[in-house]
Symmetry: C2
Subunit: 343 residues, 2 copies
DNA sequence: CTGAAAGCGCTTACAG
DNA sequence: CTGAAAGCGCTTACAG
């Protein structure tokens, strides 16, 4: 690493500035700045000369300085519970790829669904003066006094605060409705739901679709069929074992994530029960592995990648078109039921 | 979102500065800066007053300005092929959590293993003046003239350039040796290897362990048993089908990632062949799902989370301890064979 | 077509 | 214990 640098007379950490180029070119910093920006009021000759020197010196603009001067950055902050969870990972990929195409960088923060961590990350993003924030909220209250464009992804606020925030979500009520109806049609009379955390709007929305489907089938709602918790294989595994202590198959289970479904399937397998005969399982998300499992997973497909893409496109619009900031963004992506082998 | 802000007289995008606090406190910006930093040369009274005002105004320091002044940022850049691949996702999680604990932010860039994208991301990071870079390299040549601390993760350079770069890797030669020996011990006479891309050092290292194990067992090396490609379920699936066109079971397969192994298992299942009787499969990485599959996957465990943690710890040392920068970092984490049901 | 000057928000010697 | 001043690297009116 040393060789090349030292031969150019630049040590590690030393950065070429406009001033260096100006000195080399025998011109002013002003001219260098404008030449590099390709502004029309600089002669072709000068531009060519300056660009050549910049190239030779390995000049890379200092965006910190530019940000300070222009009072804007090209950085987006992403707040999410856990970047290693496949659904969020795909969302982040959509964000990163779209942001890169629009010349934005992306700062990632994990909250583990802990409000105090979320607050901390938000503070860091604010200090970094990110141009906008894309958040999968844990505690909506943490976002009240942000001063930058913000869009909630996957979850929105609910209750009294409703409609104050921008959001791009998937239609979880409809997804749950699809899943539950499908389970019913497949002949299961009892449908369990292993839902997410009670504090998320998506969890709440799913209850709506679940109840609607039951109602339409004339099956009374029974709160003993409802479980809440985190989105993990382990939780799915444990919860299905809990259910098995209380109920005898056959029955159906709608899981609020494919991860939960995979854990649940594992529990079923260990009890030597059959899927879908004894227990039908519907997942949620359609992560890639759902179509590589031993028993292909029937699931409600939501494209988190698409949510990421839209999130960036909309937030960049809010950032770059001042009058757009007055608009309220409410996007709802429709889900699709993918029927495979687990039902 | 507007309510609170407007009542404070601050609109969206307007930021409180040291100057605002100074005006309010009837003091100089210098004093405010020092008070907020908790420097000893400011009276207790002044500190208390200034901190209260800062709090009330919702002051958040502008790290861009600080970075410019101090000529250093608290930002780390991560370059990786694909943040949605589970092994990398876990690595990134380890990086993010450790970095946050040390007050660093984390910029994530995906390369898709494409050198030109890698170059682009590196340029952006340089422009952002990241304090250090943690990279899973695709083309080592892209890193030659970086001027910031750099550590390669998971892969290192090889060939002529060897030993110029810092690296934290897993012992892939040993892992492949474990896997291959294990397959041999389990009675398979032919061992295929579905390896990664030819251009990665980890792929190369795996070949070493693979050949050593064969040699010890007195089995001649046959290049027809070696396949290269990307790390995906789809590739594992296709490759196993290719293998099945050429060879008849029983045989063993060592896959260079669990994702490949899962794809391969799917192909075996579709051909109605039995795991492990007909085909034994060993994965690599030990991603979480390996222990939730229908047939629990035997795999070589490498902790990418640990690599992430160590990566941050070491790079922060390089950044913050100038004399440490002279040291060369070469860390190799040892793998472990986890025997489950697929062998 | 080009340059001198101001200023973004911060920190830190330096002076008092 | 406190403040005036310089300067980090950049951009942009303003003047010529």
């Amino acid at each position: 690493m040393k060789g090349i640098l030292f031969s150019m007379g630049m040590g590690e950490g030393e950065q070429v500035t406009l001033h260096d180029i100006a000195r080399e070119a025998g011109t002013s910093v002003t001219t260098v700045s404008r030449a590099l920006q390709g502004k029309p009021d600089i002669s072709e000759n000068t531009k060519i000369k300056i660009k050549a020197i910049a190239e030779r010196l390995g000049y890379v603009p200092n965006v910190q300085a530019r940000a300070l001067r222009l009072n804007r950055t090209k950085v987006l902050g992403i707040i999410n519970p856990d970047n290693s969870s496949p659904y969020f990972a795909t969302l982040i990929k959509g964000i990163e790829e779209t942001a890169r195409g629009l010349n934005y960088s992306v700062l990632v923060g994990n909250t583990g669904n802990r409000p105090e961590v979320e607050r901390e990350v938000l503070l860091t993003f604010t200090a970094m003066r990110v141009a906008g924030i894309l958040g999968i909220p844990t505690d909506v209250g943490n976002y009240y006094d942000l001063k930058v464009p913000l869009i909630f992804l996957l979850r929105h606020e609910y209750g009294n605060e409703a409609r104050r925030f921008n959001s791009i979500i998937t239609n979880d009520a409809r997804g749950a409705y699809f899943a539950t109806s499908h389970l019913l049609i497949k002949g299961k009379k009892t449908i369990f739901i292993i839902n997410g955390s009670k504090y998320f709007s998506s969890t709440f929305d799913r209850m709506e679709g679940y109840r609607k489907a039951l109602e339409e089938a004339g099956i009374p709602y029974n709160e003993k069929c409802v479980y809440y918790g985190e989105s993990s294989m382990e939780h799915g595994y444990k919860t299905l074992n809990l259910i098995l202590n209380e109920a005898v198959p056959p029955f159906g289970v709608f899981c609020s994530s494919d991860l939960i479904a995979i854990g649940a399937m594992r529990a079923v397998k260990e009890k030597k029960l059959k899927i879908p005969e004894d227990i039908s399982i519907v997942g949620n998300d359609d992560i890639e592995i759902a179509s590589y499992l031993d028993i292909l997973l029937t699931t409600v497909k939501h494209s988190s990648y698409a949510v990421g893409v839209l999130g960036v496109e909309h937030i960049v619009k809010l950032i770059e078109q001042p009058n757009a900031a007055r608009q309220s963004i409410k996007v709802v992506l429709e889900p699709e039921l993918i029927i495979r082998q687990s039902t």
